[in-house]
């Protein structure tokens, strides 16, 4: 699997969401798209799924340009909560399974057990943490080449985060999948990442291997990010 963003720019009205972004991703790695809220991370994920199209540049998956159909090959956990309240957990899983050919019911049921969700529970009655867990189940249960997570930990307590991290590490198929996580919670995500990609005001300001940052620069990802952001601000003045 090769996923490439070639010189991508995207505007929403007058607002420049992304400016000349060049990026490529490969199978078997965990990438962090890091930056404050509104920096363009979510736009990047939407471009990869084919839910949004670039004004300039191309997004390609295995050499083919991304279209609306690409979502068949990309599992995407949005920031939004898109479940039907009247459904049970089991019905929600069935519904998602009916929408995606690559949905793996066996994996879904393992994940439900692992994350202690009952198939009979109504979505309406789920706590925020359990809704977050259910979102993860429906995303990770797909045997998709690309898994995109948009702020998977947002608003969740440390226990829920921990269970989500463990499930990610357990159920990602590193031989066949790539995991891209967009988040502003840089410290929390760092131990999970192979590579950190810094996004700031729609521009990619840096990309580094997490361990080499520590080994060669003696810096954590957050320290590195702050330094880059300051440089960027100084350059803009």
């Amino acid at each position: 699997m090769v996923l490439e963003l070639n010189n991508i720019s995207k505007k929403y009205g007058k607002n420049q969401a992304l400016k000349h972004v060049h990026l490529s991703f490969e199978t078997g790695k965990i990438y962090g798209l890091l930056g404050p809220n509104g920096s363009g991370k979510s736009t990047m994920l939407k471009l990869i799924t084919g839910l949004v199209f670039p004004d300039e540049g191309t997004v390609t998956l295995n050499g083919e340009q991304v279209t609306r159909k690409t979502i068949e090959k990309v599992a995407y956990l949005t920031e939004l909560d898109m479940f039907y309240d009247a459904f049970s957990v089991g019905e929600t899983v069935e519904y998602v399974a009916s929408q995606f050919a690559d949905f793996n019911r066996e994996k879904a049921s393992l994940l439900l057990t692992e994350l202690r969700l009952e198939a009979s529970q109504k979505v309406r009655s789920l706590s925020k943490g359990n809704r977050g867990r259910l979102k993860l189940v429906t995303t990770l249960a797909r045997d998709a080449e690309v898994i995109l997570l948009d702020e998977p930990f947002s608003g969740l307590d440390p226990m829920v985060r921990d269970s989500i991290v463990k499930s990610l590490l357990k159920y990602i198929d590193f031989e066949h999948q790539v995991l891209i996580i967009a988040t502003h919670e840089i410290n929390e995500i760092e131990p999970l990442l192979d590579e950190a990609i810094a996004i700031y005001h729609g521009t990619m300001i840096g990309r580094e291997s997490v361990e080499s940052l520590r080994e060669e620069e003696g810096q954590s990802v957050l320290q590195w990010f702050k330094q880059l952001a300051i440089k960027q601000e100084e350059g803009a003045q």
């Binding site: 790695k29 965990i30 985060r161 921990d162 991290v165 463990k166 590490l169 357990k170 590193f174 929390e188 760092e190 131990p191 999970l192 990442l193 192979d194 997490v210 361990e211 520590r214 080994e215 003696g218 810096q219 954590s220 957050l222 320290q223």
Partner: protein
């Protein structure tokens, strides 16, 4: 996440230290099998490639050995394991002495202080 890590040291080295300390404490015995890379990654909440580096480093230090198709095992080399224990003792003592010197305690005073502290503990 599963573990807290310091900011400046590579995560894989922090896990190396943790495993060495577990061996020195006897929580992992010579000949014990370590969890698989994936299991360890899940336990620690870190990237599997990080654990792979941890195991490679431990192997380079000859603290563990990987057996083809079986996994990674704590070395049964007794001399090496004893040396490991001594190294840790030395490291802790060096730290202690350095900190005492930083607050102006000389080495001679330190011996007296330590004796009297331990004496009181009886």
């Amino acid at each position: 996440m599963g573990e807290e890590f310091q900011a400046s040291k590579p995560i894989y080295m922090q896990i190396v230290d943790k495993i060495i300390s577990e061996i020195a404490q006897g929580k992992q015995l010579p000949g014990d099998k370590l969890p698989s890379v994936r299991e360890m990654a899940v336990q620690m909440g870190v990237n599997p490639n990080t654990i792979q580096r941890t195991y490679t480093e431990l192997e380079r230090m000859q603290i563990v050995e990987s057996r083809r198709g079986q996994g990674t095992f704590v070395s049964e080399n007794k001399a090496l394991m004893e040396e490991l224990g001594r190294n840790m003792q030395e490291e802790i003592m060096e730290n202690f002495i350095r900190k005492m010197e930083e607050i102006g305690v000389t080495r001679d005073q330190l011996v007296v202080l330590l004796q009297s502290y331990l004496g009181e503990g009886k």
